[in-house]
Amino acid sequence: MNVDRSDMDSSWSPEAAMDNDRLVRAIQDGDREAERAFAARYLRPVKAMLLARSRNPDLAADLLQDVMIDAICALRRGQLREPQKLSSFVIGIARNRLNNHYRSTVRQPESLEFPDLLPDSSSHAQKLEEQERENLAMNAISSLDPLDKKILQMTLIDGLKPGIIAQRLSLNPDVVRQRKLRATRRVIDFVRRQSQTESSNHIVVGKVT
């Protein structure tokens, strides 16, 4: 499948580019709040990317802080010339970190002072959030029809395509495609909907009424 960059551009906007510009300049000027804002914005996508590419949650968690530190140190040095490419810049750093990990387990000492006010990805709140997402995922899986569950497992875990799954389960490939699509949507919707419900509940509980 070929994906045009233009197919994926729906989130880009001139306002976002201006935000990037301000953020990058502020970090270069030594603004620690800007560093925190940067970390808050990129912790989740970087973690998702590291997990997707490493398939190892522990490794992803280990490398996450390294990536954020690398990125902020590079921004402090003014190494990003085009602030509108901030996300690509962070992605590149994450990819390099992961590649370096595979090449060698020896870490290079960092010459710059590390940012010390980053949100801690291993904080209690973060762990609670992850635990909650795991519970939601388990509930979502258990809500599936057994055949849908089997198809989703063969898809996500075994990496099989619909035609192959159809052969193994003696089903029509299009039936597999349809059930897989439905199961995927259902679990994603379940996790997202429940997450939003939990989040809104948290806000309500936190308010003084």
Binding site: A52, S88, Y102, V187
Partner: protein
Amino acid sequence: MTDCTAPLIDRCLERYIQGTLPESDARKFEEHYFDCPACLAQVEALQAVAQQMGSKPLQPRRAPIPWPVRVAVPAAIAAGLVLAFIGFHPWRQPEQQISRADLRDGNLNLSLDKTGQLHGADGLPKKDRDALQAALATGRLEASFPSDLAASQAETMLGNTAAASPFQVISPVDRVVSDDRPAFAWQSMPGATGYRVRVYAGGYRKVAESPTLHGLNWPCPVALARGQNYTWTVTATSSTGEVRTPAPPQPEAVFQVMGSAPAAGIESALRGPANGHLLLAVLYAKAGAVDDAGEQLDLLAKENPNSPIVARLKSSLNQATPSPIKTKAAQ
């Protein structure tokens, strides 16, 4: 499922989590979801589900090879070649033949000897053996993609360009489908309260129409005549009216239902004793069902990791496969 209207997210998402999305597409998808909270949330949700489902960790997507291995493997290969050169005396073991290609394929152990003869497929009909032998000998799959489908990609509908739709059809588009009751899939349109699918044969003769649907896919309940091209549209209803896709100047969404003869051949192969993926790949490709052929090659690759012949077959199929139609909304 999504608040994001960027096309192809659904397809990218699943394959990205699987680790099967091509590297270039994975990079583009990452650049997208880094700035798209809706898609990021979906990535995280599906990752959580996959983690809970998986009792064993998957292999890393693309682990660079450590340098000791990069040095050691070529050295070992070179040493092996030297040993093979020194130790190989054909007059000592005339009964042994060097195999040009070895594949484990379902219930078959296929091999092609240095004279180009196929072994391990004795129970198959001659035409199937010939097809397998040709594929293994040439490293190519003969993909006969229908010329009228390929031509349709370049065509655009005439009409008012301002009427172009804000959502797109997903599949089947510009493909041969093996099932005569194909499942149709499309993207969501913000604010839509329902969708209606219409399928047309030649001359815009309507052959199937869905009731009002609230999901984003519809399995066609009627069998479509085989060997024919069809076009299809989805009409979304919202409070502001109806929107149809594809709409001018987008190309029509065209597909072909595989002809009866190739479908029967594939059905026979599926029920046959071989249960071989290479034969199915050959038959699907020959019938123009390149996606199905690709799936069979993927399964073959799983049974034969790092097989150069499978890699060559996949490469030849990719070269013969037209890119999917671009059904972007008109700007």
